[in-house]
């Protein structure tokens, strides 16, 4: 199918239409400001000195830009008793999120593919049960999961957290991919079967390359979920194996010493940056993939 373009469609013109458009953009601009305002406050606070924060207004632009707070948040802020900044915990999060995202996405794709293109009796029931997994509140599974991790010898470790996120991500990733593959023509898979490819051959060489949009959406979703997770992190890790979200909480919620708003803000931004990055990078790829028009048959 060719990419459908709609930007060539003839639009109404004339003063009335123009006025409407101006109005539209004004409204959109206001929403945009409203949405971006907290980010502005965070960024500007993070580059102010503590003195400036105390004296000036929250909304004022910084007088002098200093990255001291950032350096401290990254390298020397105290998390509990350890004063190495967010850095080690950030690495924990990377070590946890990357494998968990990749694993849950790949397995979700495989599930979706098997559920739609190699249908077996009871496939719909299996899918319904998996969907159920997407709607159970995670608090319910904390205790059984803790016990399972203990039995596996993974309690309090990053690999344990990877397992938890992979397992609980599967419900969503399977849902995404199943819904994508249901729209992919069975004929393509049939053609590949006749062409001599097997289950995995078709998956890796035909189906997976076609599912780029689904992969991107799933990766963005999973990464955001896993990176931002607090509940599993705080429940299943201890001290040194904490993910960055838990560490951030410990930085911000310290009850000792002066409240360093600039460090808190910088730490919060650091903890949030990767999801933003994934969104920008993957999202750009997503848009490119769509406009190349080579995604679906």
């Amino acid at each position: 199918m060719r990419a459908r373009r709609t930007d060539g469609i003839v639009r109404a013109s004339g003063p009335g239409a123009r006025l409407l458009r101006v109005l539209l953009f004004v409204v959109l601009g206001l929403f945009c400001l409203y949405y971006l305002f907290p980010l502005f406050v965070m960024v500007s606070t993070s580059v102010k000195s503590l003195a400036e924060i105390r004296e000036g207004s929250f909304l004022a632009l910084p007088r002098a830009i200093s990255f001291e707070a950032w350096a401290k948040a990254w390298g020397s802020a105290c998390v509990g008793v350890r004063c190495d900044g967010l850095q080690p915990y950030f690495m924990n999060s990377v070590m946890m999120a990357v494998p968990a995202v990749l694993l849950s996405t790949l397995l979700g794709a495989l599930n979706g593919y098997a559920l739609t293109k190699w249908r077996f009796p009871g496939a719909d029931i299996v899918f319904a049960l998996m969907l159920f997994g997407a709607f159970i509140p995670f608090q319910v599974v904390l205790l059984p999961m803790a016990r399972t991790l203990g039995q596996l010898g993974l309690a309090g470790t990053v690999p344990g957290l990877i397992l938890v996120h992979t397992v609980y991500g599967l419900a969503f990733t399977t849902l995404f991919f199943r819904n994508f593959f249901i729209g992919v023509s069975d004929g393509i898979v049939n053609a590949a079967k006749v062409d001599g490819a097997g289950f995995f051959g078709i998956f890796f060489r035909i189906v997976l390359p076609m599912s780029l949009p689904a992969i991107v959406v799933t990766v963005i979703w999973q990464f955001t979920q896993i990176w931002n997770d607090f509940l599993f992190g705080v429940s299943f890790t201890v001290g040194d194996s904490n993910p960055v979200t838990v560490a951030l909480n410990n930085v911000v919620n310290t009850s000792t010493g002066v409240k360093e708003y600039n460090v808190d803000m910088a730490a919060a931004i650091i903890a949030g940056l990767p999801t933003l990055l994934v969104y920008v990078v993957a999202g750009a790829y997503f848009v490119r993939g769509l406009s190349a028009g080579a995604v679906k048959g």
């Binding site: 990419a3 004929g187 049939n190 053609a191 590949a192 006749v194 062409d195 490819a197 060489r205 035909i206």
Partner: protein
């Protein structure tokens, strides 16, 4: 090597609905069998059963004498062109065509050679680096053909492979397919809606209706001796004229009196159609007359078994080489195929001559040929 195909009481149901209702078919190695039938009668399903893309509900599928009920598609040594093209969207035309050879580990240079051959034949050699999304419908169809042809399997399955080509390309491709079949001698099962494709390509035609095979015979037999009204009406364009009527005898001669005919028209069955058994007086029958057996009186050299009658022309439809005259008998539209120079003006009475030697007679109740 070509393999024969045998279908043995094959049935296929989807959920509760039976789509293939007991098909027996024996296809010789190297035969070119064309499957025709109305839309939804189960042609694609039958191809899928042969390909192994659907599992038979009961019965057996044999390819090359071997029961393949439990053999997956990739081990059946078949290639297929799908009605929906089913090209791999993320692969280039080149990679689409070579995919089957890649999975079967054909050496690279052999792949290249085969690709070059068929790309040229199918006139897609300038498109090899494009993605399917950047091709027109007809180009996609040719890529799908190429993908099947390069593999050189024992059996080819074609599901309406030419349906989206323009008239000229379609005729060219038809000839190419015929040449290829003569050269390679592979067994082919070919689905089409195009009468001419069916007649020109087939060594035998299977006419399907609603999950059954009505007749399986060579094209001439299908055309000249259809077993029933369905086959008679399906093959031929414009279709055979079907005139319901009643038999009666006079002076040892059998006639068909068309139902509702006010004119004194009665068709004498003096050809082979009058030789059947049970042609009793008053029996309800349907007389089948192909349009080309009705022509302008005197337009052809005199022959035996001719019958002349007069009827007013209702509509004149020129097609180029012939002109169709639509007229009525007993309130029913009939078509005659005449030379353009014999064409009349609508409304004028016209003298028709019909070759009763080519007439067919069917039972009105069962539709079977008599």
């Amino acid at each position: 090597m070509a393999s024969g195909i045998r279908l043995d009481k094959v049935r296929k149901s989807f959920g509760g609905t039976e789509v293939i209702k007991g098909v027996d078919l024996e296809i010789e190695p190297g035969e070119f069998v064309v499957l025709v039938g109305p839309s939804g009668c189960g042609k694609s399903t039958l191809l899928n059963l042969i390909a192994g893309l659907e599992t038979v509900t009961s019965g057996n599928v044999l390819i090359g004498g071997q029961n393949v009920n439990r053999v997956p598609p990739r081990d059946r040594d078949i290639a297929m062109v799908f009605q929906s093209y089913a090209l791999y969207p993320t692969r280039t035309v080149r990679a689409n065509i070579t995919f089957g050879m890649e999975t079967r580990r054909v050496p690279k240079d052999a792949q290249e050679a085969a690709l070059a051959d068929f790309a040229k034949l199918l006139q897609i050699d300038h498109l090899l680096d494009r993605k399917p999304g950047q091709l027109s419908g007809g180009q996609r169809q040719r890529v799908a053909m190429g993908r099947a042809l390069v593999r050189q399997p024992a059996v080819f399955l074609f599901d309406e492979p030419l349906s989206n080509l323009d008239a000229k390309l379609r005729i060219e491709m038809r000839t190419e397919i015929k040449k290829l079949h003569q050269r390679l001698g592979k067994t082919v099962v070919y689905v089409t809606h195009d009468q001419i494709e069916a007649m020109t390509l087939a060594t035998r035609i299977a006419v399907m209706d609603n999950g059954h095979i009505r007749q399986f015979a060579d094209p001439a037999t299908i055309y000249e001796n259809p077993v029933d009204l369905f086959v008679a009406g399906f093959m031929g364009s414009p279709p055979m004229n079907m005139i319901p009527g009643r038999l009666f005898h006079e002076n040892g001669q059998v006639f068909v009196l068309p139902r509702g005919a006010r004119e004194r028209i009665r068709f004498p069955l003096d050809g082979p159609a009058g030789q059947g058994e049970g042609l009793t007086d008053g029996r309800e029958v349907v007389l089948g007359l192909r349009p080309e057996t009705i022509f302008a009186a005197g337009a052809k050299l005199p022959g035996p078994n001719r019958y002349l009658f007069e009827a007013p022309v209702e509509v004149v439809e020129p097609t180029g080489p012939d002109t169709m005259l639509v007229f009525q008998i007993g309130g029913q539209d009939l078509v005659a195929r005449v030379r353009p120079e014999d064409a009349a003006t609508p409304g004028a009475a016209f003298r028709f001559e019909v070759d009763m030697g080519k007439a067919k007679l069917f039972d009105a109740d069962t539709g079977r040929s008599l």
